[in-house]
Symmetry: C2
Subunit: 255 residues, 2 copies
């Protein structure tokens, strides 16, 4: 098939959880194919996703799934976003400056994953199998709690982590400097700004280091090139972060 | 303080997410202190949890947190259940028979974590800050979708993984044999049986290998000794898995 080192299997039309993997692959300068986004006659579409999920002896519950072809131990096929990022960090020093911080990075990534799960459930608090329109009232109640209590708590935690590091030398989430977790922070902050512009504006003043980190990540050369390319899909009403104005806070910044 | 190799920081009255770590420590035969369960005058209670979460330069979002004292690189303090288990597996071969399967184990653990998150949200679909009684109607709707669609899908996935392995030599979730992921499967299946006895009975026939795995784990010598000890807390209405009969399916087994 392809000669790229990596094949990413993720839904072709959305950023979703696949975006955390795309950002890492881009920052690492890795050669990869976003399989489902290929034309159908070149092996694209959702069929290859279904096939890789249901491979006997190598099943995965859901995308994203990353295949690494040509390792010394043969093909390696991995699911679960945080697991994929942990694996990529073992192969690309750009993503983790100090291997002894592997668990510190994974812990932060999993805390972001918890936050992302809660962000998703603001628009689907009852069931992912139902339309948003069938759970709008519940979505509004869940969003209120998320935006008023959980967003400040999560962002405050990440801000405090960066502040601790800034006291020494790093203005990143890891004390040793830039890592894949900063890419995740960028994506999460971008998603919040898209989905909940009022709540984002209201919280930004309290987390200046996190906002600065988001902007610094966006201007990293490989990330800036990626964001300006057609490989970067737009946010939309089909991903993790969805903009339903009625779910946002009605007030903007506190100023 | 203590001379144990590990200190576990987790809410003292519940199994919760801490139980996955307790099971791994017990299976490894590790020496550990369940800090918050010590008497207050011996440093127990929830204060040490709060302190370890808010340590500048080493913050954690939530328990469980595991401290490993006396490693060559100094103290290591880790949060996030799956991250803690991944770390323990690097130190105790009992928990992971083949280190090259680290990512396969982590992926499965994270899929269980997703399932556990959904199980929790059946009784708290709107907000963890509200009482169950304030979200009962929403909890019923969410539980229906969880029990009718998500439980069969998750359990079916794990069953298929075991079935693939059984075709070769293992009847565990990893092809190489018993690992910490099997302990997690035991705990999740036990939690489902406690919280949703009708739904559990209804699904059991479809996942015989998973049910057999649960029973095999319970009879492992160290796990059996742990389950019979006072260190094992009971399931209750305060943990991840809660038994509210009105949330369960009304039918039992299909027979």
């Amino acid at each position: 098939m392809s000669t790229a080192a990596y094949e990413l299997f993720y839904w072709p039309g959305i950023q979703g959880r696949g975006e955390f993997v795309r950002l890492a692959l881009e920052e690492a300068g890795a050669s990869y194919v976003d399989v489902a986004r290929l034309p159908k006659d070149q092996g694209g579409g959702v069929d290859p996703i279904r096939r890789i999920l249901e491979t006997a002896g190598g099943r995965h519950f859901a995308p994203p799934v990353l295949a690494y072809r040509g390792g010394a131990a043969g093909d390696l096929v991995i699911g679960q976003t945080a697991c994929i990022l942990d694996f990529l960090a073992t192969r690309h020093a750009e993503l983790l400056p100090d291997p002894s911080l592997r668990h510190a990075a994974l812990e932060l990534q999993l805390t972001f994953a918890d936050f992302i799960g809660e962000a998703h459930d603001t628009h689907h608090p009852i069931s992912s199998a139902l339309y948003y329109e069938d759970q709008k009232a519940e979505a509004k109640r869940r969003s209120d709690g998320f935006l008023r209590a959980r967003v400040p708590r999560f962002l405050g935690h990440f801000e405090a982590v960066i502040r601790d590091n800034a006291a020494s030398s790093s203005s990143s989430l890891l004390g040793a400097g830039f890592s894949y977790v900063d890419l995740t922070a960028f994506q999460v902050m971008s998603g919040l700004a898209y989905a909940f512009p009022n709540a984002y504006a209201r919280n930004s003043d309290d987390v200046p280091l996190l906002v600065a980190l988001k902007e610094r990540v966006a201007s990293r050369p490989r990330i800036a090139a990626y964001l300006a390319s057609s490989r970067r899909l737009p946010f939309s009403q089909h991903g993790l972060f969805r903009h339903y104005p009625e779910l946002d806070l009605s007030e903007g910044p506190r100023r």
